[in-house]
Symmetry: C2
């Protein structure tokens, strides 16, 4: 069976399983049911941020770090799931993959999977959850879920993660600032990548300002609005049970700042475990997953009971504005329940 | 009644109605049911693209153009719905609004509404649909739906539109290129904004190359891969029933290229009406809307029949990995149907 081979570390079997999961096949669903009891061991790290911030390079560098820790720790196995909002139309996912391969290929402790949007975001998020579970069951200790783009899709996918990195770079426009404000809420660690660029100080100040807005009542900031600890030790900004996201500067192109970033990620995990936040997040993750599955199951059950002719007739009435969408829903629910 | 005042052109009533719709209140739903028969007259124009491409300025310029057409046409009323993926956390939507106001405020023929993400993307899309319907019923002839960000959320919201503009600028990185590939599929008109930037020729070539990939069998490109018509007349690239998206260069800061862009938008509308594509798109839009409403109605009906204690018990089993998410769904559906 595919799932047995996956548990035994068979890479080809894993790749085949992931394909089944992406296709949402019966085999994929059944394997996930069997494998689920082997999950819950990986550290799931979400990586998001505006386009052009260098997320892929950053994940590459972190992966290399976990494979060859500089401080004598044991290497950890790493899986990377790159979720790409582009479509099969041009195979947008391929480019990032190839670039990655050169650096990490040949290492049996690294597994990379790109996912492109096939249908709706809902479908993608569901498939991503399954992919991550399979990789978790297969024994990967660190699993990155990296999303290209910036928007609500990232927020949805970040719900998957135990630790979410939000990546920013100096010198992006106002448009991007607005987006950042939205995703700051989901950040556990803020990364200021391409930190050799001009404007890095201003960018860090802006991020600190936004963090202050998000955590206005915390003792971590004194009445002058400045953090009460030095900037270099902001991983200690955790006050009581609250975690204030630290900011880490990196240059993913040459690996500068990666050790410090990895330390911040480890710090977040330790904090979460100490405060019980890890368990809460696990529960919220699983609840979200069950609700998504339920919603699509309810819809497909309902749809299978509906005659398409009736549906088209109601659409005709909609197009001619004889009924409203709300009235169409009432009609459809009535017809189908009879 | 709110809806009567809205039909009579009362702006304050319209603003109040939009608030009801955003809140998904009973009053909002009922008003939409009444107003729906007055919809179907507006030209809905979606505007999307990567962050930093200057979408807001572009929409401003187009709005000014429609208000004061240079060629002696009658001015048209314009509504702008700015969908902002950032959250109430920092009120990200506000900035863009204020900038806009200075140029367009005081004109009774212009109405601007910003929407920030409250909950899920699904909720936002549903609210946006309602907002657009209310504006349509209120008599606005041109309705822009502008989304900040780049990703699947844009694709969802673009389904709303009759004509979708995808905005690009010269000199964005590879990351953004990959995203563009994905949203090119939804483009009816491509806008190369900030066209005074270096690299505009290369950017236009790249866009043409991607378009060719998307329309590989069309006569619009000869066997050397070059368009068979000149670049300046690419609005004529429509071959038979197919519309090949024209590329228009603009400089939204000073309005250069806006007249030509507006002509391309009008060309797309004319083509859609001639080929029946407009009616098809209307039907698809309304079908999508009904399906979204159905899905949330089914979920809320189901949830109202469920005891939260049972749900929490099943979550407990999930967290301890005694059952899988798929098995949880099966259990929940069984318990609730009894």
């Amino acid at each position: 069976m595919l799932q047995t081979s996956v548990l035994e570390g068979d890479r080809l079997a894993l790749a085949r399983l992931l394909t089944e999961i992406e296709a949402d096949s019966e085999a994929g669903r059944s394997a996930l049911n069997d494998l689920f009891k082997h999950t819950g061991n990986a550290h799931l790290i979400g990586v998001t941020g505006a386009p052009g911030t260098g997320k892929s390079s950053l994940v590459n560098q972190l992966a290399l770090h976990y494979r060859k820790p500089p401080n004598g720790e044991a290497p950890r196995s790493v899986a990377i799931v790159a979720v790409d909002p582009s479509s099969p139309f041009t195979g947008g996912a391929v480019l990032g993959d190839r670039i990655r391969m050169r650096e990490l290929s040949g290492d049996a402790g690294v597994f990379i999977r790109s996912m492109a949007t096939r249908g709706s975001l809902g479908g993608l998020a569901t498939a991503t959850i399954g992919i991550v579970q399979a990789l978790d069951a297969a024994g990967f200790e660190i699993i990155f879920v990296e999303t290209v783009g910036a928007g609500q899709s990232e927020v949805e996918i970040a719900k998957l993660a135990h630790t979410t990195l939000v990546v920013d770079v100096p010198g992006l426009g106002d448009d991007v600032q607005a987006i950042k404000a939205g995703i700051l809420e989901i950040a556990d660690v803020l990364v200021l990548n391409k930190a050799d660029r001009p404007g890095v100080e201003a960018a860090e100040r802006a991020l600190r300002g936004m963090l202050k807005l998000g955590h206005p009542t915390k003792r971590a900031f004194n009445h002058h609005g400045r953090p009460t600890v030095t900037e270099s030790s902001d991983a200690e900004l955790a006050v009581g049970d609250e975690w204030i996201p630290p900011i880490r500067r990196t240059m993913a192109t040459d690996g500068k700042g990666i050790v410090e970033l990895a330390a911040a990620i480890a710090g977040h995990k330790a904090h979460m475990e100490k405060t019980g936040g890890w368990q809460l997040r696990e529960r919220a993750r699983l609840q979200g997953e069950v609700e998504d599955l339920l919603s699509s199951e309810l819809m497909s059950r309902w749809r299978s009971g509906l005659d398409d002719k009736d549906f088209q007739k109601i659409l005709d009435q909609l197009v001619t504005r004889s009924i409203s969408p709300g009235q169409a829903v009432t009609k459809l629910l009535k017809e189908n329940s009879q």
